[in-house]
Symmetry: D2
Subunit: 266 residues, 4 copies
């Protein structure tokens, strides 16, 4: 499935401000970036680096005044997300090293506080993939997906006290519950084709049977058409943008995802 995923951030910057941006989807196992644009207006020097989790990050100092970031990518995304009912739990001692960071509690996923709840939710389910499915069902029972309801980032424990949540909160709760069962889980920030209302999206992946699988508690059916921008332990690792110094007003943000007819020609 060929998609064009774009976003524009329009900032109004009171005084020159350092930023970290995380807005460049990488080609990876699940997606191929065939075309991309990353335009800064006004054009300022920017430096790119790779963070601890392999995400491409951009550093720059936004000048005072209006400042816009436009990105767009034409990407070959998977038609559907793989599912694997019954896929087995990987014992902690057999997990590959690279997934271990996703087993520990993190800023917004206090998995150390979810042991009992996770056990109760998944009682009777086979260890592994089926536990994750039970967790997603619990998150969907507990929280009504309410896009736009959450400004401040809340943690999994806080989300679990509420009745409404944004995609990020639902993913955090799913992640914390998976980790409480010793299933590595990570947050994905990206685009989802057909999301209503269109915006950046967040879901999670869990590591079972030797690979990462996609879970999205906001959606009844696990849709394809996903473009991952960044992976992390939770929202603290994968902010679309981070600013330093005196607070800048949140930008006016426009996100769009549309289908392309096919592979880009040359």
């Amino acid at each position: 499935m060929w998609l064009r995923a774009s976003c524009t951030l329009d900032f109004s910057i009171p005084v020159a401000t350092p930023f970290l941006l995380m807005l460049r989807p990488r080609s990876g196992a699940q997606q191929w970036v065939a075309r991309e644009q990353y335009v800064l207006i006004p054009s300022v020097p920017a430096v790119e680096f790779t963070d601890l989790f392999g995400n491409l990050c951009q550093r720059l100092v936004a000048p005072a005044g209006p400042f816009s970031v436009h990105t767009s990518a034409d990407i070959d995304a998977a038609e559907s997300a793989d599912t694997a009912p019954g896929a087995w739990f990987v014992a902690v001692e057999n997990l590959p090293e690279v997934v271990l960071p996703f087993l520990l509690p993190s800023r917004y996923c206090e998995s150390d506080r979810f042991a009992r709840l996770a056990a109760s939710i998944t009682a009777g389910y086979a260890p592994g993939y089926d536990q994750c499915v039970a967790i997603v069902a619990y998150v969907r029972r507990t929280l009504v997906y309410s896009p736009g309801s959450g400004q401040q980032i809340i943690s999994a424990a806080e989300a679990n006290q509420r009745s409404e949540a944004v995609c990020r909160d639902m993913a955090h709760l799913g992640i914390a519950l998976c980790r409480a069962l010793s299933i590595p889980a990570r947050l994905v920030v990206g685009y989802l084709e057909g999301l209503q209302p269109m915006d950046f999206h967040a879901w999670f992946e869990a590591f079972v049977a030797g690979r990462w699988y996609t879970f999205d508690p906001t959606q009844r059916d696990l849709l394809g058409g996903r473009v991952a921008i960044a992976y992390g332990r939770d929202a603290a690792d994968v902010a679309i943008y981070t600013q330093f110094g005196d607070p800048v007003e949140p930008p006016i943000m426009r996100v769009s995802v549309s289908r392309l007819d096919g592979a880009p020609s040359w």
Copy 2:
């Protein structure tokens, strides 16, 4: 200063349980490990790996029954910790990439919530090292160091509501305040010669004038005789041990640090 730093953890394991341990100090810029022991009783297979922050970690499955971990290291530690009054603030755009993870909020250091407090504490201080000194003074005014008072790990925001704290909490608060000023800060877990009562210790480092400097809010004078075991963003990254599965009782723990007469002979 040559030190022998040792610890013993005596566990009683109800059922075979996977563990991550972080108990092997590495030689580095500040310390040289001349002798080391790491003995598991009973002896079980263990695998070592390096985590995201460069710490040496050990993975093993502790068998049911009594299980002891003994480590000891003879180390050349610095006589005193470097200080640098007046050392300059490094603008975010000039920070080396490797320190950027220590600038963001993390599990127990919600630096995003400390902007106002950090500004108020450091008003009138030169940006950089002197701000860190003012932060340490604030932490010492706010929290009475009370070893043994803290079982559950609390966050910087929670610590800031209290009057007593353990070393880890005081370090977390210092870190959160530094990051709120865009000064990278990281938690160090290790040994401190002469600590009363003797135990593992935690302090923090802040990045100013191009390098890391040591700060320890629990101590009136910044003592030498430190042995770093692990570095991380906060306590979530540098647990001495992490166990998975059903909870195991905390171990009986013995820590000791003694001076050696000089460099080990062969």
Copy 3:
């Protein structure tokens, strides 16, 4: 300076063949990628990863038949390469860890065999940048730049026996001589605006006075307009493409670099 750098590789593949490609310039300290295309015809699944040196690499299996790789990037490149006459030599013990791999002998840069020659060439020059300048002058005296003269990759020691060389050989010789003086040096593969005849280009960077500086033994004047695609110890690390299995005919290759009027608009 805004440049559009493009290449097309047209392969004729006898039987499905695994490839590694290294054709995606990364934004970095010296260049900003504002637009990019990476089109495979026919479109096949490709996976991207980051190698030991931070280069973005693409893996795919080229299908039997005609197979084309087209890449194009609009990049803000430096107007001129920085120079620093007199910049000091960094003693080995003070070098940052990340540059150490570029101090050792490598596949095509047998720096262990160049100690005497390097000392003789640079006698009387101040340690550091000026030694590198003397080395470049030596390479230019010794080897006539003859684009297209070299099919098989030869080593620095082999190049030093010849009278003609391609850009890669000249860079290898420069690198080996720098390393023989304990100056870290690395190969850069990329584009150079105005190169005659237009092709991929190779030059080198040496680490003096705390940063990397550009040197290009093929050019009388050190021109700007450079787009780095990949960095490595020598040509073994930074092949534009590597194929596995039965040999495939080299592709028909077209490279172009043109100036753009200014920053891309949105």
Copy 4:
């Protein structure tokens, strides 16, 4: 099998000289370091870091005069090396990223020049482990193991022209032939219990059926009792010591490996 592996390097240093040492075996999947000593006489500041391949390396400046490095480790090593006749070849497109660097030609393993020979040696063997066995047999037919015969490091291509070789040369030739068949292969430097005459040893590992397997062309039977000190693409990556500046005489070197009665007690 519990082993004590020790070495002493006695240098006579004419003028203060920077060194890189690679003498600290790490605990890993195959071995557990229970006790260790690393003593420098005279004691000088040393800094430890992890190289691109995960090896622990030590940097120091050796002072003028006699300088000794003593290391000793008590290690739980495998009784025997795993073998896996018939284990399958992993297609290049399915190899994990971390093994890809071991697929390319390197300083002393010019695998790009061995395609025909590798194909001829392994004709009729099943792809994977059995090809590696055939390669080891070829190396043993071609080269007589002659410890002490090799001072200068020669490459696989050079070794293939000779009739006698040291362990390192035989490993290089094995590695180059494996890589020529698209089987990742890496050099291991370490200790081997019972080696005659006792010295540091080198062997290689090849990646088949999803993991690394040990091969040692110097030994008729694949013995256990191995302690790995360092892994790399070839000898250029894993020198026991590297010195910079004016050449220092090779050290007087003593290596010993002895069996211990059992696990170290506390």
